[in-house]
């Protein structure tokens, strides 16, 4: 046990250390905390009003514990979703696995150490959502001290079973499925799985909520039946809810004990599975593919190309072939548009289509404004742009001795992130054209403005990365993890586009579509020219000094 504890401490320290973070990043974290306070209060008031509404409508039929059920089920989903990627990266993709394997530790000890950070990170959202909700519920139900003691313990053990389930599933897949033989492919499949999971859950909930209306009234009459329905597939949520519904009764205590026992069993299961499967899955993971070169390919593959095109291909291949870049850049930037499209297609009477019909009633300049704002938020920050330089890592110096003009390299990087933005934009534009049914002229102006905005976004991300690139990484995830750059990019974009949107909104003259579009064109053109000029300037001054 002492050894396990030592491992856990070491690994937590290694992963959470602030060494190597710049002052700018630390300041960024400070800003984030400041932002978090009002957001936390907002969250608290939302939770409060939600629980309040539900409680007053459910309490008359004695079904108020459905709130607890929903809460625990929701938390289970969140835990499953969050731990999916953290477990994968900590267990299988972190480079430090290899340095621990030769040391004289049992597999279960290493796996416990590896689990520490992903597990602890679940307590962030756990504390943010579950803890205040339980307290709010306690206040509403006027519960006694036992309720609060139970709540505290249940809060403590809530992440255990979901975490064990995810970890066990992943270890099983990695041990027995064939994908485990290739690290790169696994990273891509598993990385996409998280997004598929999010979309899948969403679809399920939507389909499900349509059908269950009928039997509802009967169930309301029967105590705990509604709770049973909600927690059908989640015994831990059921136990927890019953325990908190009547904490002082024997039934309540028994359920409480059952939950504790289940969590302990979960930990034991985790250790057993880790001991059996962990090493077998993690050993022999390797990157890249191997094949034999074919003679007759040579001609085709030595075709002469423009240097810019050659550079573009190199950038594109790096993104597609590096699993972390593939998921963090390609999938990430396509996720939102695809998600929106699916939602729109699935839902014919939901809130989004209400919005659509409302848009139809608006005048042209308002729809243009709303669509543009929606696009800016939707496209958000483009990870391809703020990883432009950092992606190169230790191979960056190659750009310095090769006789390629620096502006050409910069252009290739801007073009790649621009291209990815345009890809998302195309998907969104289809949705807007067919589902929102805006007028063609509005659509056209919107499309043009969004294309230009994409270029501006690319420039912003590029400049931020160029200013302080992270080249000294050993694992690609460091390009995105623990850097505040995404946040800064967002702030810069809010500034640039926020000003435009506010002006369009506030100045009466821009009620007219013509004036609004002319102003947009002028404003965006100025932004592009300024940005382009600045990119040229810093490239000339700083390009060869980046190391």
């Amino acid at each position: 046990m002492a050894k396990t504890w030592l491992l856990i401490k070491t690994m937590v320290k290694m992963q959470l250390s602030t060494a190597g973070k710049s002052d700018l990043e630390k300041a960024g974290y400070g800003c984030l905390v400041l932002f978090a306070i009002p957001l936390g209060l907002l969250l608290l008031s939302i939770l409060n009003s939600m629980i309040d509404t539900l409680y007053t409508s459910l309490a008359p039929t004695g079904n108020e514990n459905v709130i607890l059920g929903l809460l625990f089920v929701m938390m289970t989903f969140i835990f499953l979703f969050v731990s999916l990627s953290t477990v994968l990266s900590s267990f299988y993709f972190a480079e430090d696995v290899e340095s621990f394997i030769p040391l004289p530790f049992q597999p279960y000890q290493i796996v416990m150490g590896k689990a520490a950070v992903p597990f602890l990170s679940l307590y962030g959202v756990n504390t943010l959502v579950l803890l205040p909700s339980l307290i709010i519920y306690g206040i509403h139900s006027a519960s006694g001290p036992v309720y609060y003691i139970f709540s505290l313990v249940l809060w403590l053990v809530a992440p255990v079973v979901p975490f064990v389930l995810t970890a066990a599933t992943i270890m099983f897949i990695m041990r027995f499925a064939n994908i485990a033989k290739n690290k790169d492919r696994t990273k891509i499949i598993m990385g996409s799985l998280g997004f598929a999971f999010a979309i899948g859950v969403n679809i399920l909930f939507r389909l499900d909520s349509g059908g269950t209306g009928g039997g509802m009234s009967e169930m309301v009459l029967e105590q705990n039946a509604l709770l049973g329905l909600v927690t059908k597939f989640f015994p831990t949520a059921y136990f927890s809810s019953i325990a908190l519904t009547s904490p002082t009764s024997i039934i309540g205590s028994l359920n409480f004990l059952a939950m504790i026992a289940l969590s302990f069993a979960g930990i034991l299961l985790f250790m057993t599975i880790g001991q059996q499967w962990y090493f077998k899955g993690v050993l022999g993971l390797s990157g890249g593919t191997r094949s034999t070169f074919k003679e007759n390919d040579l001609k085709r593959r030595t075709e002469k190309r423009q240097v810019l095109w050659s550079l573009l291909l190199k950038e594109w291949k790096t993104i597609v072939r590096t699993p972390t870049f593939f998921t963090q850049i390609l999938i990430q930037s396509l996720f939102f548009p695809v998600f929106i499209l699916i939602l729109l297609l699935l839902q014919s009477s939901g809130s989004l289509s209400t919005m659509a019909s409302r848009i139809n009633g608006w005048d042209d300049s308002t729809s243009l404004l709303v669509l543009f704002a929606f696009t800016i938020i939707g496209l958000g920050v483009n990870p391809a742009s703020f990883s432009s330089i950092s992606r190169e890592g230790k191979s960056w110096f190659n750009n310095l001795y090769l006789p390629i003009p620096a502006p050409l390299i910069v252009t290739s990087k801007l073009l790649v992130s621009f291209f990815l933005n345009v890809l998302s934009l195309l998907i969104i534009s289809i949705a807007i054209l067919f589902l929102f049914e805006v007028s063609l002229s509005v659509w056209f102006i919107w499309f043009l403005a969004s294309i230009v905005a994409s270029w501006i976004t690319s420039i912003i991300g590029f400049l931020l990365d160029f200013h302080q690139p992270k080249l000294n990484w050993t694992d690609e995830r460091e390009v995105f993890k623990g850097r505040m750059i995404g946040f800064f990019a967002l702030a810069a974009e809010a500034l640039v586009f926020g000003l435009l949107l506010i002006l369009l909104w506030a100045v009466p003259l821009f009620q007219s579509l013509t004036f609004a579009s002319v102003f947009m064109v002028v404003y965006l053109t100025i932004c592009v020219l300024l940005g382009q000029w600045y990119v040229g300037k810093v490239t000339k001054e700083k390009f060869s000094t980046i190391h």
Binding site: R290, L298, S395, P403
Partner: protein, 240 residues
């Protein structure tokens, strides 16, 4: 001809190269010898445009590396000490990228790529990601890239480290051929033996200073007469 004129490079808290001057004539294999940390790589990085030069200047066949940047770089073929090249590209893609950058004609590519990589025994691996290559294989693909565009000036940073005996022998032969054509071969090493086998001329660098420049015969003489060099000689032979 390469002319290095009183260059200095300071890193935060450390002067790696101080007031260093060298003249490297055409048609010679020039060895740049020194123990680890002497400043060889730092000098070479300044010669290739990777590191900005703090003071002094470097010209390649009359072209200043910090002024006529592209023209100077175009003449150089550089083999770095680290093999951190574009790992996600396949061998063949890397070579074709290099060919595009240096504007190598289509016909030349095809014949040269297959010839060179067959010689180095990496032809079969051309369709694999460079990431999967061993250190030696990476070294070979970079050397193939340099030979592919056939520049006037070769600058090689510890090129023989990590190569197997056969490839090492081949590379040495290629270096001799290149110098015989009246071109420049400049390479660094920390092994005295290599210099003795290969070089026409040598410069010995220690702690950022050139301690000696001359031909092989002069070097041996100096080693016996000079107290300071004797100590250095021990380091260089023991490191081997």
């Amino acid at each position: 001809m390469i002319e290095i004129n009183r260059i200095t490079k300071t890193f935060p808290g450390k002067t790696a190269v101080k007031d260093l001057s060298l003249t490297i004539p055409d048609g010679k294999i020039f060895g740049f010898l020194g123990p680890n940390g002497a400043g060889k790589s730092t000098t070479i990085k300044m010669m290739t445009g990777i590191l900005p030069i703090d003071e002094g200047s470097i010209t390649m066949n009359g072209k200043d590396i910090s002024k006529e940047v592209l023209a100077a770089k175009q003449m150089i073929g550089y083999v770095p000490d680290r093999s951190d090249i574009f790992l996600r590209l396949k061998g063949i893609e890397y070579l074709n990228f290099i060919a595009d950058v240096y504007d190598v004609p289509q016909e030349v590519r095809e014949t040269k790529i297959s010839e060179l990589t067959k010689q180095f025994g990496i032809y079969e691996a051309l369709d694999d990601h460079i990431q999967t290559y061993s250190h030696g294989m990476k070294q070979k693909i970079v050397v193939s890239g340099v030979l592919l565009h056939d520049p006037d000036i070769w600058i090689l940073d510890e090129p023989l480290t990590g190569l197997d005996p056969k490839s090492s022998y081949m590379l040495k032969e290629m270096m001799r051929d290149h110098a015989a054509k009246g071109k420049i071969v400049f390479f660094s090493t920390h092994v005295l033996e290599v210099v003795e086998q290969l070089c026409d001329e040598v410069a010995i660098i220690n702690q950022g200073h050139v301690q000696f420049q001359g031909n092989m015969k002069e070097m041996k003489q100096q080693f016996q007469e000079d107290q300071n060099l004797e100590q250095l000689f021990l380091e260089l032979t023991q490191n081997g």
